[in-house]
Symmetry: C2
Subunit: 295 residues, 2 copies
């Protein structure tokens, strides 16, 4: 029972080739074209790509070499691209968003240089670029997984605020963040209707179980957007999905392919409201019993 | 790869007839006999029954009529049963535990009268009786589900401490408690290796998804012990299971039958340790980011 006012979103399926900009341009164009022919074309399209989409995940020192500053010239001059794409990938993505009128979310390695240019810090980040080519949100992964990520990145110091796109409030997490119950809970408390999770996951437990639990216990949508296939000896398990507030998969990709998944996000749909009323796990929390969680 | 020192536990499968003491005696005797013939007979047996096992769940005012005080004579004189079983169910259960040398956990309606005998409060409780017939733990459900439970019960004011049985630390939750991520997390922080969840659940999401997520994200065992079958117009979905710290079901009952499930609980098994080391969701929490959870 889609509401006529509901936004329409798209989550890019994982693809081991989708780490380069040529592929990104193709995916965005294809998504925009598909969206234009759909019945929901009047509402915003949001396209989400996996964790570290722009460079690849298991690429070692490339994570530093190709890192981008979020607030650097690459975004600010999105309308006047003259440099090579290798040097200014964020700029190209912003231009893609604007040219195709599509909101874009994707993971990338972020390079942050302090004011006196003496210290450089690297983050595993996800950026939310509006269909106008502006940065709405930049989130730095707060829970870094394993020695590899800890070698290359510094963890972010805060969870992201939610941003409103049409009628839908969107929160961002990255990969391992969603395996902890706490970050999703915080984003729910901040009003998220949808949590986007660019990820690079190699085992099936999180996409098959954890993501459904997070959606159900917080009564919101979770879009889990994973890489798929082989990359330098790492195999990512795909299984991207969008899970509804009822805990059902609205759409689900396979393990191997780089599919494009489309889902309407309608937080106020009657059956979701009924689920929230019947089983208000998000509301009947007893915070006085949970003190140890923040000690 | 069972460790020779590991305890052996048993979780009673759900049964819509198992609300009476005659059935309880049969189940305990059967469990004890089965255990005696097993290779793990030297380690403790713990038998867990569903939520409100002693009276039934959907029995309306019976919940008050047959409620029992946890610290009343029914426990203290467990060796000298002279009263009818209907009036002193906890006493009979303590005697059963002692006679069969089995730790027993089960749900029951608790009647608490204040010191001056003027106020009576009812709780949806679960009691842990040792193989010596003593009360190790009494937990009052903290998250009451729906108008029915709220009509008959007052919510408990604290989560339970963990109790040690052999080498295993055990925590207790009841039904809806486990659908909130917070209570399991608190019990993990208190050192639980195993969370027992007597439950009366009618839909399959919690047994099939939520319970696995709780075990995996806290790297401990969860035993979800559900009612099954019809009771006064309510249908419980069974699907009792014991889930390991890896998120796998070690054993699982069907939807209808009142099966007895046996599982060895071995928290220190090598593959569980390896899972904790590889994916330490229980350890790498960033409490400074979770302040909103307790506000």
């Amino acid at each position: 029972m889609p509401l006529p006012t509901s936004p329409r979103w798209l989550c890019g399926g994982a693809d081991d080739k989708a780490t380069n900009l040529a592929n990104a341009a193709q995916v965005v164009a294809k998504a925009a074209a598909t969206h234009c022919t759909s019945s929901s074309a009047a509402v915003p399209l949001l396209l989400c790509f996996p964790e570290l989409f722009l460079t690849g995940y298991n690429v070692g020192d490339v994570l530093h070499r190709d890192a981008e500053p979020v607030d650097g010239p690459s975004i600010k001059v999105a309308n006047t691209i003259r440099n090579s794409v290798e040097k200014h990938v964020l700029r190209v993505m912003a231009e893609l968003a604007k040219a195709n009128r599509v909101h874009l979310v994707f993971g990338y390695p972020e390079k942050a240089v302090d004011n006196d240019q003496t210290t450089t810090t690297y983050y595993n980040s996800a950026i939310f670029i509006s269909a106008e080519g502006e940065v709405l949100l930049n989130y730095r992964k707060t829970h870094l997984w394993g020695p590899y990520e800890k070698k290359y990145f510094t963890p972010g110091s805060s969870l992201a605020p939610v941003v409103k796109i049409g009628e839908v409030s969107v929160g961002l997490l990255i990969c391992w963040d969603v395996e902890f119950p706490e970050p999703s809970r915080v984003l729910m408390l901040r009003g998220a209707d949808l949590i986007l999770v660019p990820t690079a996951c190699m085992t099936s437990f999180a996409p098959e179980v954890t993501v459904r639990a997070r959606a159900f216990e917080n009564k919101l949508f979770v879009a889990y957007v994973n890489r798929a296939g082989e990359e330098n000896g790492s195999r990512f398990c795909g299984l991207s999905s969008v899970v509804t507030p009822n805990g059902d998969c609205a759409c689900k990709a396979g393990e191997e392919s780089g599919e494009l998944l489309f889902t309407d996000i309608e937080p106020k749909r009657a059956d979701y409201q009924e689920s929230r009323d019947r089983d208000p796990i998000h509301l009947e929390r007893r915070t006085e019993l949970y003190r140890e969680l923040t000690q």
